[in-house]
């Protein structure tokens, strides 16, 4: 057996690349595309660490990865790092590590996506991959307002308007309710084989409880503070799991084991548990 000299995780090596295209999706969301051979092989649900030189390095779920080597992430402007990224132009240099994490498992049959806010990004990538295999694909998407229903037009085109349930908290588009409430109504009428969910953890906790109640398999994409992304630093732990290495996608069975934390606590920069 060849003993590897040194310490090496291929995907963890930082690569620099140029921004190839920037698309303004809404007032707060832009999509950035760049070339990266390793991330271009990513599975839906995997994430990458994006270095904004001199500012920060932050995790993003991958929005799209193509055979031609191009990769896209959608970025909502929420703080210093994402604002700095929004100010970047085509041709500027960013750094990439990844892809990291496990990704969703693609299931056949009747599939339901439940997305909240920016949680739609990885689910859109997943939808493109599994639609050819799924016998039915329904997309529940929720947000505070119409402006925050990211990619809604694309999803309606892709899934067919009749297969999209949009809900907004202010009633500015679709039904005036929470995505989890739309889910509850739907599950009373129809049986599904699989639920994929990503969004605010409080929403996902409700989705988990409903999936359990109705006996439907579930996978959820979790978000935690990421530093090393390779399972060493402990910043992202939830119960016995490391979100960066054991996740970010977790099954209902796994989430039930960390029920005292899921939807309740995450860790702050100093490692303290803080409630949602």
């Amino acid at each position: 057996m060849v003993r590897l000299l040194g310490y090496h995780i291929a995907t963890n090596k930082l690569r620099t690349t140029q921004i190839q295209s920037i698309k303004t999706e809404t007032q707060t969301v832009k999509t950035f595309a760049f070339k990266d051979k390793l991330c271009a092989k990513a599975k839906p649900g995997q994430f990458l660490m994006l270095w904004i030189p001199g500012v920060d390095e932050i995790p993003f779920s991958i929005l799209d990865a193509r055979e031609d080597g191009s990769v896209a992430v959608a970025v909502r402007k929420v703080g210093e790092a994402t604002s700095a990224l929004h100010n970047k132009r085509i041709g500027e240099i960013i750094g990439i590590r990844g892809p990291f994490g496990n990704g969703f498992t693609a299931k056949k049959g009747k599939v339901l996506m439940v997305a909240g806010g920016t949680g739609v990004f990885p689910l859109l990538f997943l939808s493109r991959k599994i639609k050819p295999k799924a016998t039915r694909l329904v997309f529940i998407i929720g947000a505070k307002t119409r402006e925050e229903l990211f990619f809604i037009d694309e999803i309606e085109r892709f899934c067919g308007k009749e297969n999209v349930v949009a809900s907004t908290e202010d009633g500015s588009y679709g039904v005036k309710c929470l995505a989890s409430e739309s889910l509850e109504l739907l599950l009373c009428k129809e049986k599904f084989d699989m639920i994929y969910t990503c969004g605010p953890e409080l929403m996902m906790r409700k989705v988990l409880d409903l999936a359990e109640k109705h006996g439907i398999a579930l996978e959820a994409s979790l978000e935690r503070l990421m530093r090393c992304a390779i399972g060493l630093c402990g910043s992202c732990v939830i119960g016995k799991y490391r979100v960066c290495r054991d996740g970010p996608i977790f099954s209902a069975q796994q989430l039930i084991k960390v029920k005292t934390e899921f939807g309740k606590f995450k860790r702050d920069f100093d490692g303290r548990k803080i409630s949602f």
Binding site: G6, L14, W51, E57, R227, V237, D270
Partner: protein, 306 residues
């Protein structure tokens, strides 16, 4: 008959095997420490904890180089006030010794944190006097024998648990520092912490880490660590815990031959998972058996005969 080939008495701590989780790796919570013990660790060291909470540095905090990792986490921790809950919980669920890593910005702080950790149930303290990237603590203390001696003495006077001192390789003579720590009462010495390092990106021409400088760990530093253990063994009588780039049993054996009584493993968890403790232990056991040794203690410092 029970096989005692791997048991170690480390400054009074009884270890079923001589592999220990290094500080800074996971170690925020009792549950993650439990998963490390499930991987076969003979003892665990927590993340370094101080008097007050610390958020650490901005990302990037970790960068991979060809032969290891450079990290500058910046000692993020919730502070001892909050952390005592995790220590108490860990003591309930762990069946191996729990060592709490402590840092401070003065000897009084080291002592105050150590006392709280010991009162909460820590089986031993490991003084971090070797973190290479936080000002006024870590290696800034561990590089000065007089200050280090004061810290060790103040902590020893404050607690009645074994006190380990984790040494920095970023010094002219690690044996001199080791001697200063041992003379003032250190019960064991951990050698070594990470080596001060940096990485620069050619495209942007910028230092990559948020803090610019960090500490190099992994196989790149193993030869340095082995030499440090060897040097220290020639000078002091207290047990040495080898640390730096251990990823398999051969690495561990090398440290024992140089003079270590136990070894700590950290970075290798990224590539091998927590089972690395079990595979190192098994390999070590097979080696001792093949060579006819009845206990791992028999090979400690063997290479000094030559």
């Amino acid at each position: 008959m029970k096989d005692n080939r791997l048991t170690v008495n480390l400054a009074g701590l009884k270890l079923a095997n001589p592999t220990i989780l290094a500080s800074g790796i996971l170690g925020y919570s009792a549950e993650t420490l439990e998963s490390i013990v499930a991987g076969g660790a003979g003892a665990v060291v927590t993340k370094s904890v101080g008097l007050k909470p610390r958020v650490g540095y901005a990302n990037p905090t970790v960068v991979q180089v060809d032969c290891g990792l450079i990290n500058a986490m910046g000692l993020p921790n919730p502070g001892i006030g909050e952390f005592v809950k995790e220590i108490r919980q860990a003591k309930k669920v762990l069946n191996v010794p729990l060592i709490v890593s402590v840092y401070g910005f003065s000897e009084e702080e080291y002592a105050a944190v150590s006392k709280k950790a010991a009162d909460a149930g820590a089986d031993a303290l490991e003084l971090n006097v070797s973190c290479p990237h936080v000002k006024e603590t870590g290696s800034e203390i561990g590089q000065k024998p007089e200050i280090l001696s004061k810290v060790v003495k103040t902590v020893k006077d404050a607690v009645d648990k074994p006190v380990f001192v984790k040494l920095s390789p970023n010094v002219t003579s690690i044996a001199d520092i080791a001697e200063a720590a041992a003379k003032t009462g250190a019960d064991a010495l951990t050698a070594i912490n990470t080596v001060k390092a940096m990485a620069i990106d050619p495209e942007t021409t910028m230092p990559i880490l948020g803090n610019k400088f960090g500490g190099l760990s992994g196989s790149a530093i193993k030869p340095i660590a082995v030499r440090c253990v060897y040097d220290i063994y020639e000078r002091v009588k207290v047990p040495i815990i080898g640390c730096g780039g251990i990823a398999d049993w051969r690495d561990a054996v090398e440290f024992f031959l140089a003079g270590a009584s136990a070894v700590q493993i950290g970075t290798a968890i990224a590539t091998k998972g927590s089972n690395v403790f079990r595979t190192v232990t098994r390999g070590l056991n097979a080696y001792l058996k093949r060579k006819g040794f009845k206990n791992v203690g028999e090979i400690v410092g063997l290479s000094h005969r030559y």
